[in-house]
Amino acid sequence: MANLPTPLERFVQGILPENPVYRQFLGLCPTLAVTNGLKPALTMALAVGFVLLCANVIISLIRSLLKPHLRIVIFTLTIATFVTIVDRVLAAYMYQMSKTLGPYIPLIIVNCIIICRCEVCASRQSVTAAAADAVGQSIGFGLALVSIAVVREILGTGMLAGYQVLPDAWPDWVIMVLPPGAFLTFGLLMALVNWIDAIRTEKNTGRG
């Protein structure tokens, strides 16, 4: 047990060094599907954060009872319960948003981030570490979603969260809010992250 990271390390790692989207390539479905605007992206990040936190805490509490071959089923059932809660709450208080997000809220159940965190962290560590890990990963996921959503919404509509940011003369790049724009933006941003990373490692090793 001594080799496992402490709660604080778990928290910090989730935000940038082990960012779920840019570093681990997890949870790509919502990353691409709901990032055509800032508001749906934020709602999605909050929903995933809530489910991840609850699932991590519950799994961590029952970790001594888990049987290896039934593990994944227990994970998905726990997650499905909380996703149902999120889905009902969204439908009750934010009806329009729940229509916009549509099937992507129930698809949180099969979001690899949550299953991966349950497997890697919650099923092995204490509640504190699991909760810290969940919060860190959620912030990392939220940052990634927001970064893509900002680029797509500004270039695609000239607006950000409903406010005009680019001059009216801006020809809206409609392709950016359509499916291909998601792939292109994400690909370019990932290349940017890799590039910055390469420069930083070069500096650290004293070659740059």
Binding site: F25, L26, L28, C29, L32, A33, I72, V73, T76, L77, A80, T81, V83, T84, D87, R88, P103, P106, L107, I109, V110, N111, C112, I115, I175, L178, P179, P180, G181, A182, F183, L184, F186, G187, L188, M190, A191, L192, N194, W195, A198
Partner: protein, 234 residues
């Protein structure tokens, strides 16, 4: 004629126009992860098609018999515990997600055991992918689409029957296979190209995916075109 036509439209829409991967972004993880070689991509695609058909069949049966308001099986069981009027409007749709994911997970487990026991050669082709498929968004997405066409419709006559649901399952899987095989073909060629260092790996795959999605946008409107051609009127 109308029914066959409906099935045809559902199939074309699921496979090409609203391709699961390139339009709805479901099943991206295997699309990026398992698309290095054409052979593997074909294996993954056929496994997904197979499981999706089974899962859609299960979810259609469960939804129609148990989950929708006033479903036969649940109201029959509820009739033992509560007044008949209340039992007839038994609504279990809130359990949908839990029931679906449980039925997908267990059916994948059974299919894997069955295939390994009775068709070892088939198991070699796509057996290794089966456990991964439990957490494939595309399968759950197909089930949810079927559900929204049973529960979400205005009148019971508009609800999908089993044939329509199966068409969606099979051709949704075919669409996934088409996308992942094209992707694998392109990536095999990409290995020989000089890709900028920052783009190596996932980044260039996503860009290629974007260009593929643009190509598939060309199918937009094909369904209404077919409708005009067959029905005579737009």
């Amino acid at each position: 004629m109308d029914y066959l036509f409906d099935i045809m439209l559902i199939s074309i829409t699921a496979a090409l126009i609203n391709n699961f991967v390139l339009y709805y972004f479901v099943g991206i993880c295997p699309f990026i992860g398992v698309s290095r070689q054409v052979g593997m991509a074909v294996g993954m695609g056929s496994a997904v098609t197979f499981v999706m058909t089974v899962a859609v069949f299960l979810s259609w049966t469960i939804t129609t018999l148990i989950l929708v308001p006033g479903a036969p099986l649940s109201s029959w069981v509820a009739g033992f515990f509560m007044p008949a009027q209340k039992a007839a409007t038994m609504d279990l749709t809130i359990l949908t997600y839990i029931v679906y994911i449980f039925s997908i997970a267990s059916s994948v487990q059974f299919v894997e055991m069955y295939v390994r026991r009775f068709y070892p050669s088939l198991y070699k082709t796509f057996g290794v992918f089966l456990p991964l498929i439990t957490t494939n968004c595309a399968i759950l997405f197909a089930c949810l689409t079927v559900m929204s066409n049973i529960v979400g419709v205005e009148s019971p006559e508009q609800a999908w029957d089993l044939g329509r649901a199966l068409a969606l399952g099979i051709f949704g899987g075919v669409g996934f296979t088409i996308a992942i095989v094209i992707m694998a073909g392109i990536r095999e060629e990409l290995d020989l190209c000089d890709v900028p260092r920052a783009f190596k790996g996932t980044a260039i795959t996503l860009i290629v995916g974007g260009i593929l999605a643009m190509a598939f946008m060309g199918f937009t409107g094909v369904d209404s075109g077919i409708r005009t051609a067959v029905m005579g009127t737009p």
